[in-house]
Amino acid sequence: MAKSSLKSAALMEQMKAHLSTDAGKDIVKKVNLVYQLNIAPKKIGFNEEIYVVDLKKGEVTQGPYEGGKPDATFSFTDDDFIKISSGKMNPQIAFMRGAIKIKGSMSAATKFTPDIFPKPSKM
């Protein structure tokens, strides 16, 4: 993946590696959806980096989703995504606040929970 300065990029790489493990394969089986994440450094919509977390094929790629339409597209800031994936912020609440913008299927969006993401270990 291209080097990025976003914190989320580290998470994306970890996710990528994670999906090839047994646990990752379980997640793919359970969720079976394609998410596109538009992650902005400071403010939603500006200088976004786009990642596709394909939980159908089990891969994480950079750039908009080419294979059709993603089941759900999320837009948030770098910090907010980190908070959501670590469980510090409840995604529903974040949505109500407007910290997440969601496009696409709501039911797909509800499956976007912290537990599909691996947690970073601390040195």
Binding site: N90, I93, K122
Partner: protein, 737 residues
């Protein structure tokens, strides 16, 4: 006895003060009495929930009282004022009391129906019945009565009374003067409000330009009018909303129904047309103050809403902060002004409303949406627009609807409806979710104070005053009692803020306790005290790497190299701001060639590779370092973390085990263990490790979040409450290692 004649005084003249025309005074005199009983009743009214259509009630209830004998003998008096006051103070009347009884009985508006006090079949919206004269007389009575209890007079729409323009003028003039006398003990605003209300209900144009201006006195009145604030629209809004709401309400206590009914309100333009119908009965707005009308309207509506929510027996609802917020709004403690929440009266510190508003600045904020939808408060412009458009009934429909639709209600309602439908709100009820949000907000607020470099000292430190806290702290650290060591070291740095070693140990203790935020804060202080300390620089590099702060981490790691006595020459002399990772890595590699036996160097390299997510190289570096220093528990943990982050969880667990063998109270390693198990999907095991870590350091916030996730993944929602309340005892009992 034509009321009309009374009102008009049988003469065309509008001069107040002419003795023959004191019809209203007489009327009032006839019917009011200042009986104590009625006063009590009047004072009862504010506590009842029926504020909505008092005018109607008055008219219905007062009807019988019209037949009093006194009515036929209006006293003759030279001055209107004195007569009126005389009448005002006359003794009580049973008739009036009876009338009041009727009022209190179930001719209440349908809102009362939800109180379970009123049998449902009596929920009737009080119709405007009765001949116009009666209506008018009753109405005027109530106006005068309103002075008794100090109640604000409620304007109500009355059917067309057929008052001519002249009559209207007379009523206006007289009533304003009368009000002045009548409410002499009240303040100006009250007077103005009363008069306004009266006139608006009678459909009298309050626009002063419309009438001929007699000299002198009426100028004063003109000013009075111009200054008045009006409550005209408040209760009416609530009426319509309540009506709709009640119709759609299926059962109490189901938040979904609320959402659906709300959706219905907005989805069909049914509400819009309903509102329009209501509006057509209401007098012109005149000099409406945009700010006050909607805020009062808002208060009314939110009171209604709050009451409705309070009816819900579910304790969650009652205690929910949302309900409290709405209640506050309804009591006027908080008002919305220009889409800002303004708390008035009781601004406690940490006041939820202000806090909430401070957190929130976005057009998409829930509060904004809520206030727009619930309170129909676009802006003062909306009111004015409506006012100007009032003349044409037809276009008003469209205008209002257009205006309203601009508020994106449909989108929000759709989204919300879908959310509810899809169960996105999950197991939590809507109120719960909102409560969670509120809690989160307060936490966020606290955190924002502590974040990024500001060290937070513990309260109640038993080591303050200890003769040698630094030594004590180091001792505790060696023994592995990290939280105790933290306290002792805090005592030390409170005593000697420049003790860089003290700060360093403190930072180290926090890092091993799995708190990178505090670790960074402490290490920064250490760095200030001693900018060349290599261990400090390394620790800062590590913590920032953990926090994914790439630029800062790189800066510190590079600093390590430059300050190193041996390798200072390796790097280029100038400290460039835009450090590139590749360059720095190269320098380190060069340094490693110089002295390959330096474990520290390899360790730093390992951290550096972690930063650039070159995990294989990182692991290699750590392995090399460990060969040189096999009993360094910290290195084992670093190795484990590297492996875990590159999805080699099984290897990571082995490395962590080594670390824990060397240092059994290594909280960070315990937490990392938990993470590695969770990442492998072994949630039950991960729970045990998290609990163990938390038992040693209950302040490890990260671990609490992860524990929660693992509990839900393991379907142990029974323990969720223990987790949320941070009840370690229960958790430890349930999940021993």
């Amino acid at each position: 006895m034509a009321m009309r004649e009374l009102v008009s005084g049988g003469a065309a003249c509008a001069e107040p003060g002419s003795s023959s025309s004191n019809p209203l005074g007489a009327l009032a005199n006839a019917l009011i009495g200042s009986s104590s009983k009625t006063q009590e009743r009047l004072q009862e009214v504010p506590t009842s929930t029926n504020r909505v259509s008092n005018g109607n009630i008055y008219e219905g209830g007062l009807e019988p009282a019209l037949h009093g004998s006194e009515f036929d003998h209006p006293p003759h008096a030279s001055s209107q004022g004195s007569v009126f006051l005389q009448g005002f103070r006359s003794s009580g009347q049973d008739a009036f009391a009876n009338a009041w009884d009727e009022i209190q009985n179930p001719q209440m508006p349908l809102f009362q129906g939800r109180n379970n006090l009123i049998p449902p079949d009596q929920i009737q919206f009080q119709p405007h019945d009765g001949p116009p004269q009666r209506v008018l007389s009753n109405f005027l009575h109530s106006f005068v009565n309103s002075g008794h209890g100090g109640l604000p007079f409620h304007p109500t729409p009355l059917p067309a009374l057929g008052l001519s323009k002249g009559e209207k003028q007379r009523i206006r003039d007289r009533s304003s003067i009368m009000a002045r006398h009548l409410f002499a003990d009240k303040n100006e605003d009250f007077v103005n409000a009363q008069v306004n209300a009266l006139l608006s209900s009678l459909d009298i144009d309050t626009d002063v330009q419309a009438r001929v201006t007699p000299p002198g006195r009426s100028q004063e009145m003109e000013n009075v009018w111009n200054d008045s604030q009006s409550m005209q629209n408040g209760p009416r809004d609530a009426d319509g909303w309540i009506a709709e709401y009640d119709q759609h309400r299926v059962q109490k206590g189901d938040p979904n129904v609320w959402a659906q009914s709300f959706e219905q309100l907005h989805g069909a333009n049914g509400w819009a047309s309903e509102f329009e119908n209501e509006q057509s009965q209401i007098a012109s707005f005149g000099q409406v103050r945009g700010a006050s009308v909607p805020s009062l309207a808002a208060m009314e509506q939110t009171r209604v809403l709050a009451h409705t929510l309070a009816q819900n027996p579910d304790p969650k609802f009652k205690s929910s902060k949302f309900l409290q917020f709405v209640s506050k709004m309804s009591r006027g403690e908080i008002t919305f002004e220009d889409n800002q929440v303004k708390s008035s009266g009781l601004p406690a510190p940490g006041d939820w409303a202000t806090e909430y508003q401070q957190q929130f600045n976005g057009g998409q904020s829930w509060v904004d949406q809520f206030e727009r939808e619930e309170l129909f408060r676009g802006s003062a412009g909306w009111v004015n627009e409506f006012t100007t458009a009032r003349e044409q009934q037809g276009p008003v429909d469209d205008q209002w609807v257009n205006e309203f639709s601009k508020l994106h209600v449909q989108d929000w309602a759709d989204e919300f409806g879908r959310q509810v439908g899809e169960g996105i709100l999950g197991d939590d009820s809507w109120a719960d979710t909102y409560d969670e949000y509120l809690n989160e907000q307060t936490i966020v607020k606290q955190q924002s104070v502590t974040s990024k470099g500001v060290y937070v000292f513990s309260k109640l430190n038993p080591y303050v005053g200890h003769p040698n806290p630094f030594q004590e702290g180091q001792e505790l650290f060696r023994e592995g009692l990290l939280s105790e060591a933290v306290l002792a070291l805090e005592a030390e740095v409170l005593k000697n803020p420049d003790n860089s070693e003290g700060w360093r140990f403190l930072g180290l203790a926090h890092a091993e306790n799995d708190d990178d935020q505090q670790a960074i804060a402490a290490m920064m202080r250490a760095h200030e005290a001693d900018p060349t300390n290599l261990e400090v620089l390394l620790a800062l590099g590590v913590s920032h790497t953990n926090e994914l702060e790439q630029a800062a981490a790189l800066k510190y790691l590079y600093s390590w190299l430059r300050h190193h006595p041996k390798y200072g020459t390796v790097s280029s002399p100038e400290l460039s701001d835009s450090l590139h990772h590749a360059d720095v890595a190269r320098y380190f590699s060069d340094a490693a060639k110089i002295s390959p036996e330096d474990a520290d160097l390899h360790a730093v390299l390992g951290v550096l590779y972690n930063l650039s997510r070159e995990y294989d190289d990182a692991a290699e570096s750590f392995v090399t370092a460990l060969k040189l220093r096999p009993y360094d528990y910290s290195l084992w943990n670093k190795l484990g973390a590297t492996q875990a982050n590159s999805a080699q969880a099984a290897d990571a667990i082995l490395a962590y085990q080594h670390a824990l063998d060397l240092k059994p109270n290594y909280v960070r390693a315990w937490a990392n263990m938990g993470i590695s198990y969770a990442n492998q999907g072994m949630y039950e095991d991960s729970i045990r490790y998290y609990v163990r870590a938390l038992a040693m350091n209950p302040k490890a916030d990260n671990a609490w979040q992860y524990l929660r996730i693992s509990l839900s993944c393991a379907s142990r929602t029974d323990m969720m409450e223990a987790c949320d309340s941070r009840n370690l005892e229960v958790l430890q009992k349930e999940f021993p290692l």
